[in-house]
Symmetry: C2
Subunit: 344 residues, 2 copies
DNA sequence: CTGTTAGCGCATTCAA
DNA sequence: TTGAATGCGCTAACAG
């Protein structure tokens, strides 16, 4: 292996420009107090030599890293990918680098909070979709940097998300409006969580039914791990009831996809026999003609990233940003059959 | 904002341990030449004080960053998310950090290669799904670090991917085996690319048909931007032909999803009227009962990450790793109707 | 507006 | 096996 050629240093360009390193440094970072002519000369020389400051040296000396750590449970799921894209887009325009920390299963999670691999490596941490419990909060505090959160907030950090309760109400209220009375919900549980915090969407389900004077039926509320396959199985369970629901509200679209599949296999028609509605407006929801509650995940990512940047620059940041959601009605929802309207 | 408390430095733990910083440094990194007792004492004290070395200082002094830059076109698409997950998993076990650089549209791309934001920030670069042209290769070389690639390789870097040609043959040969003669392909083009390199899957399509003695029909080969919506539109175009195909091979599953939707809306039955097969084995392919060619994307990510790490540690790395693919037959493919077997 | 002076926290010589 | 000395490349006071 050939040795790396020594990189161009600031000293080099200072010499070439005939000024001190201090001036060079100021000129390069566009700090005030440099003659325009000098500044331009320095910039040109730096450009010619394709010079870039060493982040290590700069960080060591200046105290900041120019990096933001993003802690996230998944990279392959659409929701998190979209979120990450939003985050990345604002960080990159701010010239900040994005350091990725994925914590999927409980082991990785425990490991992250025990070892804190982000220590001394980032200026701020952005926690995405991970409810941080008290113990974890204590550990996280050791990193000693600003912390913000997005999409699933159960800790005292500034955060951005949708209003899950409102989203749930939009879906369930619509089913009620269509005339459904026997409405099921397939909720998602995180198998990693010992005690999952109150789910806004599930709360919306129970309250909406309650307000409509409908007695809750435990059989109609099923909780499964996230994903299309568990969604399909849950739907099968609902179909095996003596009196199946006429409509199903799922925690997210990808669960609904599974549910739709079960219905198709069972030879049932949607929405004539059963209505289905999800949450997300996943890109494939349109392909599957699934009614859903739209949320702009990318925008959540952008907003959360701005929070993190705001904390960094010391600016005032809102403690909580709730982004709006709205119904997207497609072909998977409709009124129940007449015979179902007035249950025996 | 309260001032950050000064962090624990190596000098602190050296003092506590009653040894020099040199010894402390050696002990901490388990370098040879330290008495076991000393080493253990140092480690214990470091543990107690929750000390971690400053990567900035260590990097500045030692010369490496401990970071790998990943250049990737999308984060929200399943393929890239899955790839990233594979990459992240091996890097994290190696104690390396993952710096994310997304280059989506041509502007971001040009910007990346012009500014080279990864300069001096990483020990190696992993390029995912981005064909790097000659000019870009020259620029990339300026970063002066090891480079590896994954999934879409058109540059002289060690890389991992599937054999696109083989994957295409698996799909098209199967359609031929079923008895189809009038087979269409919906290929994906990257609108960012001026001259897209030869697509292995498209090549497989033309060669397979050629070997079967089938004359190519330009109308049956359509190229569209990636995604379900373009896929749906392409399918519509194929259906508008005087003599539509009896089977369609799509560049990827997500294009096939769109195609399936068009067929459903058109009231056509799959596979009785038209067969559809994709590539990827996307998680939702099963939900949609789509036949496809399976590839293990996560494993590609892992393999590529190992390449990058290998380059770093100076170990010998294979120039090219091709991962296997295999047919997954589901309900979207079947023999053509008898009347179609012998076209007039 | 510009230069001088000190470090930032650590890894390496080289001696001992 | 250990320690002292030196420098990695840059920023931040402080003077001028």
């Amino acid at each position: 292996m050939t040795e790396k050629p020594a990189a161009v240093t600031m000293a080099d360009i200072a010499r070439l420009a005939g000024v001190s390193m201090a001036t060079t440094s100021r000129a390069l970072k566009n700090a005030p107090g440099v003659a325009p002519a000098t500044r331009e000369r320095v910039h040109r020389i730096a450009e010619d030599l394709a010079y870039v400051v060493s982040p290590e040296a700069s960080g060591l000396s200046g105290g900041s890293t120019g990096r933001i750590g993003v802690v996230i449970p998944s990279l392959s799921r659409w929701f998190f990918g979209e979120m990450l894209e939003g985050i990345e887009s604002v960080l990159s325009t701010r010239g900040l680098d994005l350091l990725l920390y994925r914590i999927g299963d409980p082991r990785e999670r425990a490991d992250f909070f025990r070892r804190l691999p982000a220590r001394r490596k980032v200026d701020a941490v952005l926690v995405v979709g991970v409810p941080v419990n008290d113990t974890e909060q204590e550990r996280l505090a050791l990193i000693n940097v600003a912390i913000a959160a997005a999409g699933g907030q159960y800790a005292p950090y500034p955060y951005t998300s949708i209003d899950d309760y409102a989203a749930g109400r939009q879906a369930v209220d619509h089913l009620l409006f269509l005339g459904h009375r026997r409405i099921a919900m397939i909720d998602a549980i995180d198998p990693n969580e010992t005690s999952w915090p109150v789910d806004g969407r599930a709360l919306a389900y129970t309250e909406a039914l309650g307000e409509a004077g409908i007695t809750l039926d435990d059989d109609l509320f099923v909780r499964v791990p996230w994903g299309p396959v568990p969604g399909a199985e849950a739907m099968a369970r609902l179909l095996s009831l003596r009196e199946p629901p006429t409509a199903v509200f799922t925690h997210s679209d990808e669960i609904a996809f599974g549910a739709l599949r079960t219905l198709r296999r069972a030879g049932l028609r949607v929405p004539e026999d059963i209505s289905v509605i999800g949450v997300d407006d996943h890109p494939l929801a349109e392909q599957l003609d699934l009614s859903t509650v739209h949320q702009d995940v990318r925008q959540q990512g952008e907003s959360a990233a701005r929070l993190a940047v705001g904390l960094l620059t010391g600016g005032p940041v809102p403690g909580q940003t709730l982004l709006p959601t709205h119904l997207v009605l497609r072909g998977s929802t409709g009124p129940p059959r007449r015979s179902d309207r007035r249950p025996t």
